[in-house]
Symmetry: C7
Subunit: 98 residues, 7 copies
């Protein structure tokens, strides 16, 4: 995976979606018809964490390379180097696949 | 129950729904027609707890193996190893069955 | 009243509704046509109290056995041992009948 | 006024409405057509006050016997000993009549 | 102006509207067609101030006798001694006329 | 500019709009068709600042005489000495023109 | 780039959009049909940062000259020296392009 030239702000995370075909690989499939189903992707860039009231930033629970499950309708779609990506907030991430 | 390869974030909980047929087993049935009725399931994975303002995480009230009652419309449906599951927040859990 | 095998989370409370016929017993009736009228019931299970910012739990104002007035549309209906019950939050309870 | 066998929770207050005919007695009438006009009533029971973050309860500004002005659509209607009453939160009370 | 027998709660304020005819007196008129225009009135009673988290009450910025500009749709209309009045919260007051 | 006899409360600000014709003067025009476009005006009166939790008031970032850009639909229109003005909160001010 | 005579308030940021044609330059394109797609632009002015509860201002994560990705529907459009610009809050900025 090439180094990303995009730096998310705050607790935002850039995720590259995993194609539906590959999803069964780790034993996890994302069904429930098409509506509102969560999706799976690989984290390609993370922000510095959310600014807390104390002035410090909260540590993110995911890092580059993690495979994550996220809500389909969260975040914004962007295209980086010809690949479709998603910019999400950490709270849009439901779970990590171990 | 096989070990789950899914790690929920924050105070999220993965629940495997109990089939409606089995529900009478513990003496608890979930009626009230089909609309908005709570459902019963078994906890199969829990997150680290919600990040508090202090920087610590709040301890969850449920653990893996607990049978819980939860609102039907909370959370997201996912499929893990061919089984239908639900990712919920702890606040979507109404009660534990003892 | 048999011991309840249901443990509500946080500040949730399980109430068994009192039939409309019995309601006049304590001198309190709940009229105002059918719409949005509060209802009366007996508390059969209580949670540990709401988690406060301090990490402690707030003490509940009602205990098992209390007769309470609550808003009709709060909470969720469940059936326990063949009896219709309601899971409410403490804030859905309007008053105790002394 | 007979002693009330109803104990409101938190900052709730039970008010017995004053009939529209009597309203001019204290020099205060509540007009503005029928829509959304405030109403006048007598406080017949008060709760222990709202639970504060400190764990203490906030003192209520009204006591049993006070005549108060309150918004018509706040609170819930109940019937106690054959009399129509209203359960309100303190914030639904606009003013006391001195 | 006769002494008012109405005591507003918290940060509420009783205002007697100034008739539209008089509004030009201080050089201030309230136009913008009829819709949503602010109005001018005289403060006739004030509450003790809003309860703060500290348990103290916040001091009000207006006192009895002040002429104020307020949003037309804020507050509730009441009639006191045959005069039309308004009960507002301090946050509904836009400005004082000096 | 004559001294204003209007004292806004809290963080409110009275702005006199600059006519659309003059807007090009400072090199700044406000286009984007007619809908929701920000507008430019001169600050003619400011409040004491917003009451903070500490009991102090937050210092305003604008002073009388500043030229500011503000959202068209924020605030209330009033007429002072025959001139159309706007009462806004500081948060409705987008930028100062230097 | 000429010096900007516009000073945003709080955590607001003035961005000059990059034309769609140029977007592929840094390897980043913004697709996803026309609806709700994020856009790319150059920061031309920044505010002093958001006022924190402590009375200090939070440091902004972007500075003049940064190329940023932002949500299309955030902020307000203004025209400065004949150029179309956008006034956004920092939270409307999704990422910086490195």
């Amino acid at each position: 995976m090439a180094k990303m030239n995009l730096r998310p702000l705050d607790d935002r995370i850039v995720v590259e979606p995993v194609e539906a075909e590959e999803t069964t690989a780790g034993g996890i499939v994302l069904p429930d018809s098409a509506r509102e189903k969560p999706q799976r992707g690989t984290v390609v860039a993370v922000g510095p964490g959310k600014m807390l009231d104390s002035g410090n930033r909260g540590e993110l629970s995911v890092t580059v390379g993690d495979v994550v499950i996220y809500g389909k309708y969260g975040g914004s779609n962007i295209e980086v180097d010809g690949r479709e990506m998603k910019i999400l907030r950490e709270s849009d991430i439901l779970a990590k696949v171990l």
